[in-house]
């Protein structure tokens, strides 16, 4: 008797007990559905954390000047004047893991346009033309200032959205002149909206100018406060960190017994931790759902055992008219696998529907990955084989005479 016919026999047997078959499948449906929905929610959460991470910049590292130490008084991170724009250029040039780097020169001061004035809470930042790439922060309107602007210390400014709202009250700022610490600057671009950072600070309340302009025209300094560096990939942030440290130690001529006069912070550390915790959450949800799938499997075993006992006479008849033990075993195995497979497929649909409903109702992101669907279906088949084997074996081991006599 071939597999196809055994399959048909098994399907007919299941069809004879529709209600019971459906109830048995329900365990698997709920199990698989829970796995799909839970993993969907977990992966959705993970994806939204990933996008927040991306918001921080492209695999970003921050290099800060170290603490100034004048006669024992230490000024804190960034106060030292040993980090220069040349260092940043060297980082860009010589570190293979680095994609782009921009110096940051911080300044404060009042902005004036017409009869409006405003002091940006995130300050005035002097940066170079790579800033949009490093921070993954494109402009919304206009053109970011160019390398030529930086080289010539041009008085140009790029405004955050909050500044535009406060100085221009909805008017078009591009091409307008504003005054920064009483110097006229031409507005060339407006940054796209970034919103709050994780500490609640308004990132859009900022003005960007070329760092050379900030150094020469606002502050008259030669050093930079910090550099934002973007590595070529998330993994490369670690090698970039090492390359930058080695390079700067060499450039600053630090002996091996001297401490670094700078800090290199890897933002990916934070990002990775957040990502890790969301993955742990996903696994946790999946394993809880997996337990319910296991319970579904036990349900199948239970029903199959009941079914074998209840159908002892049927098994006896089948054996008497010539079914080999193997055929009986196959029949019951196929029955349980069919229950679990059909249950699994319905469960996938159910899980996807549940995930969509949850994301609609609770405004959570959910993400159904094809892999989780495949794993859930494969797993449900394995559950069917695993939990169906013992009942099937029990059926196949029956003695036809006893089975026929069974009341």
């Amino acid at each position: 008797m071939n597999l196809f016919l055994t399959f048909r026999v098994a399907l007919r047997a299941l069809a004879r007990n529709k209600m019971r078959s459906i109830l048995t499948m329900l365990g698997i449906i709920i199990g698989v559905g829970a796995v799909i929905a839970m993993v969907g929610i977990g992966q959705g959460a993970s994806a939204s954390i990933q996008s927040q991470i991306a918001n921080l910049g492209n695999n970003m590292l921050i290099v800060m000047a170290g603490s100034a130490n004048t006669q024992g008084m230490r000024g804190g991170a960034g106060s030292n004047n040993t980090l220069t724009a040349d260092d940043v250029d060297a980082i860009q040039r010589e570190c293979p893991s680095v994609q782009a780097a921009t110096p940051t020169v911080r300044a404060n001061g009042q902005l004036v346009f017409g009869n409006q004035n405003w002091a940006p809470s995130s300050g005035i930042s002097g940066v170079n033309e790579k800033f949009p790439l490093v921070k993954a922060w494109p402009v919304a309107a206009g053109e970011f200032f160019t390398e030529a602007d930086v080289r010539t210390a041009n008085r140009v400014a790029v405004l955050g959205k909050t500044i535009v709202d406060n100085l221009f009250a909805g008017g078009d700022p591009i091409g307008q002149m504003i005054r920064v610490r009483n110097l006229p600057f031409k507005v060339v671009a407006v940054l796209s909206v970034k919103g709050q950072n994780q500490y609640g600070q308004d990132q859009d309340d900022t003005v960007l100018i070329p760092y050379t302009t900030a150094q020469k025209k606002l502050l008259t300094i030669t050093w930079v406060n910090a550099a934002n560096v973007s590595a070529i990939s998330a993994k490369a942030t670690f090698s970039a960190q090492k390359e930058i440290t080695d390079l700067l130690r060499q450039r600053h001529k630090l002996a091996s017994n001297q401490e670094d006069d700078f800090f290199v912070r890897n933002l990916s550390d934070v990002a990775e931790a957040a990502d890790q915790s969301s993955k742990i959450m996903t696994n946790l949800l999946a394993s809880i759902a997996g337990v319910s799938l296991l319970v579904g499997g036990i349900g199948i075993m239970n029903i199959m055992l009941v079914s074998v006992t209840e159908r002892t006479r049927e098994i006896g008849i089948r054996m008497a008219i010539g079914a080999r033990s193997k055929v009986i075993r196959r029949q019951f195995l196929i029955e349980s696998v069919t229950l679990s497979l059909v249950g699994g497929v319905i469960g996938v649909l159910f899980g996807i529907a549940a995930a969509i409903t949850i994301s609609k109702m609770l405004q959570w992101n959910t993400l159904i990955s094809p892999l989780s669907v495949i794993i859930a279906v494969v797993f449900s088949v394995l559950v069917g084989v695993g939990f169906g084997y013992y009942p099937a074996h029990k059926a196949a081991a029956l003695d036809p005479i006893d089975a026929l006599r069974y009341e």
């Binding site: 008797m1 008219i321 010539g322």
Partner: protein, 290 residues
């Protein structure tokens, strides 16, 4: 000896799915009338059966020797515990003798494996049980198809032969009925159709009238007599009713695990004639469908 020729050519090695010849041939081609010189289909020689129940050994059969020839209609009688059921189980290849040999068409089946016995049952033996033993919630046609499923008969052929078998027992119009929509007699006739659909060497009927009223019993015995008379099908019938045994051509009486008597029936009863003498019953189809 068309049937003999075909059946005896099939060796166990050929019993695997679909490898043997199952070409369309006249269903239950009319066979030669039995003559006592023909080769025995079934030969039991010194069969012993001992059951072990813990430490206790129960000697169910004490060296039975029995021959059944093609075309015979044998009734096996005896009180319960006489060994008749054990003998039937051994003949039906459901059980193996502890000692002794059982030749089914010249093949010694007493030492075959479980799977080989399953194949022999499928091909050579048709069972009819006291409790009908049809699959519930499965149509008469599908019940009859079942033995052919395990033989690997192709769908078209299977359907055709199942219908023919049902026609033969007079239930061609009931093919789609479920067992619970059929009367006891009809269910037993479906069981007979199932038993003969693989063209077995022998039909074994275990108390086939035990659950039937007397008129239906006669009807079922008529089917058996018809198959035996018109199609030369060999039938062994276990019964404890003396009346029923009288429809057979030969009666073997068991007692205490031995054959006590083995003799031909002088004047077998004819179910057909008895049915003709009975007052006609108004057949009401609706009544059957409960």
């Amino acid at each position: 000896m068309l049937e003999t020729a075909i059946s005896s050519e099939i060796q166990p090695a050929d019993l695997d799915e679909g490898t043997h010849a199952l070409e369309a041939r006249p269903f239950l081609a009319r066979q030669h009338v039995a003559d006592l010189d023909s080769d025995p289909l079934i030969t039991l020689t010194h069969i012993h059966k001992i059951y072990k129940m813990g430490d206790v050994e129960i000697h169910a059969l004490h060296g039975i020797s029995l021959q059944i020839r093609r075309g015979e209609f044998v009734a096996i009688m005896g009180a319960s515990g006489s060994g008749k059921s054990t003998t039937m189980n051994i003949i039906g290849c459901l059980d193996r003798p502890t000692r002794g040999h059982y030749f089914l068409e010249d093949q010694d089946v007493s030492k075959l494996s479980k799977d080989e016995l399953a194949d022999i049952r499928n091909r050579k033996i048709g069972f009819v049980f006291q409790g009908f033993n049809l699959l519930a919630r499965t149509s008469a046609l599908e019940n009859v198809e079942l033995p052919m499923l395990y033989l690997g008969v192709k769908t078209d052929e299977r359907l055709k032969r199942a219908k023919e078998a049902l026609d033969l027992v007079g239930l061609g119009d009931r093919a789609d009925n479920m067992p619970n929509q059929l009367s006891g007699g009809q269910q037993q006739r479906v069981a007979v159709a199932r038993a003969l659909v693989n063209q077995p060497t022998i039909i074994l009927a275990d108390e086939p009238t035990g659950n039937l009223d007397s008129r239906t019993s006669v009807e079922v015995m008529d089917v058996f007599q018809f198959l035996n008379r018109e199609h030369n099908i060999t039938i062994a019938l276990v019964t404890h009713e003396h009346d029923i045994a009288q429809y057979a051509k030969r009666v073997v009486i068991f007692k205490d695990g031995r054959i006590k008597r083995d003799e031909p029936v002088a004047n077998p009863r004819s179910a057909r004639e008895e049915l003709e003498r009975m007052p006609p019953v108004i057949v009401d189809d609706e009544e059957d469908e409960e």
